[in-house]
């Protein structure tokens, strides 16, 4: 295939991936709509399995509310739609990956497919969905499906509509194997932080409802794992992402900057904000280990960190433009 054909293939694959993500989102939506009509006791079993697996705390007594056959049937349908959602997500990830790979092949010479904002977002969203899928079995994250697929749909749409750039070769400043290392590490860390932030949002909302006693027994929130378990999953994701982010921002970045720009730390806006993001996430990990900060306060800090991550990614290129040495990433 010629580079132009690869470029067209990539665009189509991304479009189809977005559509399948939408279908997966709808499947998860159906799953939750069906759950709403189930008594909480029955549906909680779905959620509680996760609590047990994630929490490792005392095993809660299995809730065995009397079920009529209608509820049993419903539960099967809930399970079915949940599985369909996951299966569709897997299909979408395959398409997504194909789109990303083709993007790299669409350039002569062949290059890594994360040379500009469009491609970075493409790779970052793939990072989110791969992270979600690969952690799902171990940590039983299916309850996140609706949120993750919704997030992916929105971000991919914005990516295609706002950030799209034609495929092509890179500017000389990016001709370095550090592009693969530096950006890949940033993508993986951002993916972990994004999934972690989603879990933290759910944790904060549920935690608030629990404390106020406004948790509706048939609501979405009561079907989630216990708030402590939510918080723990989020912490693990952040703990996974943080060393990788450290490597991306404070090792690979400076080494490459030294090669390309002649100085390993230039106080370039993107560097400054990567550092700010790092400091905020460090504060999150620190706060989580500080008495009185664990839980709500620490979680808010992590969300501020995610906001700073997003600002660093999008805001810097928009507001600082040519003022940033990273502006070719636009």
């Amino acid at each position: 295939m010629s580079t132009a054909q690869f470029a067209a293939f990539s665009d189509n694959a991304v479009m189809f991936a977005s559509m399948v993500y939408i279908l997966a989102f709808l499947a998860h939506l159906t799953e939750w709509v069906l759950l709403r009509s189930l008594p909480a006791a029955a549906s909680r079993r779905v959620a509680e399995r996760e609590t047990v697996a994630v929490g490792g705390g005392p095993v809660p007594a299995t809730v065995d509310a009397p079920l009529d056959s209608g509820d049993d049937d419903r539960e099967l349908r809930v399970e079915k739609w949940g599985r369909i959602g996951v299966a569709l997500t897997v299909v979408a990830v395959v398409l997504h990956l194909a789109g990303l790979v083709a993007r790299g092949l669409a350039s002569d010479p062949v290059r890594v497919p994360w040379g500009n904002m469009y491609e970075f977002t493409l790779a970052g969203t793939l990072g989110v969905s791969v992270m979600y899928l690969s952690l799902m079995r171990r940590h039983h994250l299916r309850w996140m499906g609706i949120l993750v697929t919704g997030f992916l749909v929105v971000v991919l749409m914005l990516d295609v509509l706002v950030l799209y750039q034609d495929a092509g070769p890179l500017v000389p400043a990016l001709h370095s194997y550090w592009l693969a290392i530096h950006v890949l590490a940033a993508v993986v860390a951002s993916g972990a932080f994004a999934v972690g932030a989603l879990a933290l949002v759910l944790f904060l909302v549920k935690d608030r409802a629990v404390r106020r006693g406004t948790l509706r027994p048939r609501g979405y929130l009561s079907r989630l794992p216990e708030s402590a378990a939510l918080e723990r999953v989020a912490y693990r994701l952040h703990a996974f992402g943080f060393p990788i982010w450290t490597f991306a921002a404070l090792v690979a970045g400076p080494i490459w900057a030294e090669y390309a720009w002649g100085s390993y730390w230039n106080w370039d806006p993107k560097e400054v904000w990567a550092f700010i993001t790092w400091v905020i996430y460090a504060a999150y990990l620190h706060a989580r280990a500080t008495a009185g900060w664990k839980g709500k306060a620490a979680s808010v800090i992590a969300l501020v960190g995610f906001a700073s991550l997003l600002f660093n990614f999008v805001g810097i290129n928009y507001f600082f433009g040519a003022g940033s040495m990273h502006s070719y990433a636009g």
Partner: protein, 542 residues
């Protein structure tokens, strides 16, 4: 908890107004400093300082910084005359060297040291201590199991010790009890991470204090030797000694650039590189180096980087008396990705009047009535000089320094335009080889050809190895502190109460960090202690 005699509060308030709260006794200076030290080294303060650091870094990304882009700072200051003195007083043009920024990170470092040093002591003691004795009631721990086995106590205890050792616990046996602990490296990782922050700071500070960074524009075919006078801009560290400049010299022999000639990114540079011949010292043999972005030249004590390139049109200017008053390349600075470049040519030796030219170099000429002259493509396919000539006084004689990239027009006059539609000032357009005569017999200018220049950065950042080692150690420590789980386990065996030969085993565990799956670990320990075959492959239960 303070104990209050019952009834005092109620009785006191009923009969008489409560006595005014007595002021706490004044703190002695020692107490005060001890209190201040405790505050500073508390975790909460560390958190606040971290936030302040993040916050304080923000303005440096918004306001242009003196040591990063001095030209931008000057432009900004020109555009904001009222804000400039305020910003200057706040140090907003040099955020990362300002007093308040330094204060935050120095306080943070002090807080860090104050936090780490006592913990080092505690950790040292903990490392040599035996695992803590089993609590009296194991059943009260977060995870505990009680079960009976057929073997006698000694056998079970020995097996428990073996099982725990195999699972890399430190084990201490005391009578009918086994205490075990593992995950000592978590705190080691934690301490390593905090200490590595100091290492990074030392490395970074060394680079800032003893290093330097200079920019130089060299026309292809010309050379450079590493002395202060050769630099266009030079930013030394505070403790940098100019005699430490590495005795490097080089010449730029050739320069190659390729631009994309088709596709959506047409005009984007595909590659550019310069051929250098260099000597690391005057005695050294000359060597060649292909200098490109991402391929710097490293010699002892200095590194040379290719950071940009552009055009230097070569012109010959004759004055009104027919003498050659100027000949040579003049650097024109690229304004955008089309390499439309702006520059000036000063001819102070022209007679009777001095001459000056200001204008654009367009590597591939294009013209529309709306845009005026512009460049269609960054490569020199159809180069054109579009200049406005001036005559009069260049203002060079009073000795005040002048930029080589701008004209002081206060003593200069333009020539009248021949076509009012194109503006009031005469503008001349030159292609290579062309000569244009200036009006009023004031001379002529000939466009001889196009040279290129490269923008190089020469810098030295000592301590970068230290900083890198620090960050890598930090990541190692971070991973230890995040992923190693300190855990304690206890086993106690007692004879079965029913008088049989059976042994009652109590097994309990405690996680000293959150997030671990303690129940699974204790389940596994129970299985191993029960079935007595610890050699079986250990499989984590799902």
């Amino acid at each position: 908890m303070t104990l209050t005699p019952p009834g005092t509060e109620a009785g006191g308030s009923a009969s008489q107004p409560p006595p005014p709260p007595s002021a706490p006794p004044a703190l002695s200076p020692v107490e005060l400093s001890r209190w201040a030290w405790r505050q500073l080294t508390s975790k909460r303060t560390a958190l606040v300082l971290l936030f302040l650091l993040a916050l304080a870094a923000v303005p440096g990304s918004v306001v242009p910084q003196q040591n990063i882009d001095a030209v931008k700072v000057a432009n900004w200051q020109e555009a904001h005359p009222t804000l400039t003195p305020v910003y200057e007083a706040l140090g907003l043009f040099t955020v990362y060297g300002s007093v308040w920024f330094s204060a935050i990170y120095i306080l943070l470092m002090v807080s860090l040291v104050g936090c780490v040093v006592p913990r080092l002591r505690i950790y040292w003691r903990a490392l040599r201590a035996r695992p803590p004795r089993a609590p009296r009631r194991l059943g009260r721990l977060p995870e505990s199991r009680t079960f009976e086995v057929e073997e006698d106590r000694e056998e079970v205890l020995e097996r428990a010790v073996a099982v725990l050792r195999r699972r890399r616990y430190r084990v201490d046996r005391d009578g009918g009890e086994v205490s075990a602990e593992k995950g000592y490296l978590r705190e080691a990782g934690n301490l390593l991470f905090h200490l590595s922050v100091l290492v990074v700071l030392v490395g970074f500070a060394a680079g800032q204090l003893f290093g330097y960074k200079g920019g130089v524009i060299t026309i292809v075919g010309q050379g450079f030797s590493n002395t202060l006078s050769q630099y266009d801009d030079f930013a030394p560290g505070k403790l940098f000694d100019p005699t430490d400049l590495s005795p490097l010299s080089f010449s730029v022999d050739d320069f190659h650039v390729k631009f994309l000639t088709s596709g959506p990114q047409m005009g984007q540079p595909e590659s550019f590189d310069a051929d250098l011949t260099y000597r690391s010292s005057p005695e050294a043999a000359p060597q060649r180096h292909d200098l490109a972005v991402n391929h710097p030249l490293d010699v002892e004590g200095a590194s040379v980087f290719l950071v940009g390139h552009g055009y230097a049109p070569v012109v010959t200017v004759r004055d009104g008396e027919g003498q050659v008053a100027y000949r040579g390349p003049a650097v024109f600075l690229p304004q955008d990705s089309s390499f439309a470049s702006f520059g000036v040519i000063k001819v102070p030796d022209a007679a009777p009047d001095q001459l000056g030219f200001e204008g654009l170099f367009l590597p591939t000429y294009g013209f529309t009535m709306e845009r005026g002259p512009y460049s269609q493509f960054p490569d020199a396919l159809d180069p054109v000089l579009s200049l406005v000539p001036y005559h009069g006084d260049l203002g060079l004689d009073d000795g005040s320094p002048q930029s080589v990239y701008s004209l002081d027009k206060s003593g200069l006059k333009t020539f009248d335009s021949t076509d009012e539609a194109l503006g009031a000032a005469r503008r001349i357009k030159l292609s290579p080889g062309q000569t244009v005569r200036l009006p009023e017999g004031r001379g002529s200018i000939r466009f001889d050809g196009v040279d290129r220049f490269v923008k190089l950065q020469v810098s030295h950042s000592p301590g970068k190895g230290i900083a890198l080692a620090g960050v890598l150690l930090g990541i190692l420590g971070l991973m230890g502190s995040l992923f190693i789980r300190p855990r304690r386990a206890w086993v106690r065996v007692t004879r079965s109460a029913d008088g049989s030969r059976r042994t009652v085993v109590e097994l309990a565990g405690l996680d000293r960090s959150s997030g671990g799956d303690l129940a699974a670990e204790i389940d596994e320990l129970e299985r191993l202690v029960r079935n007595g075959r610890p050699d079986r492959p250990v499989k984590e239960p799902e």
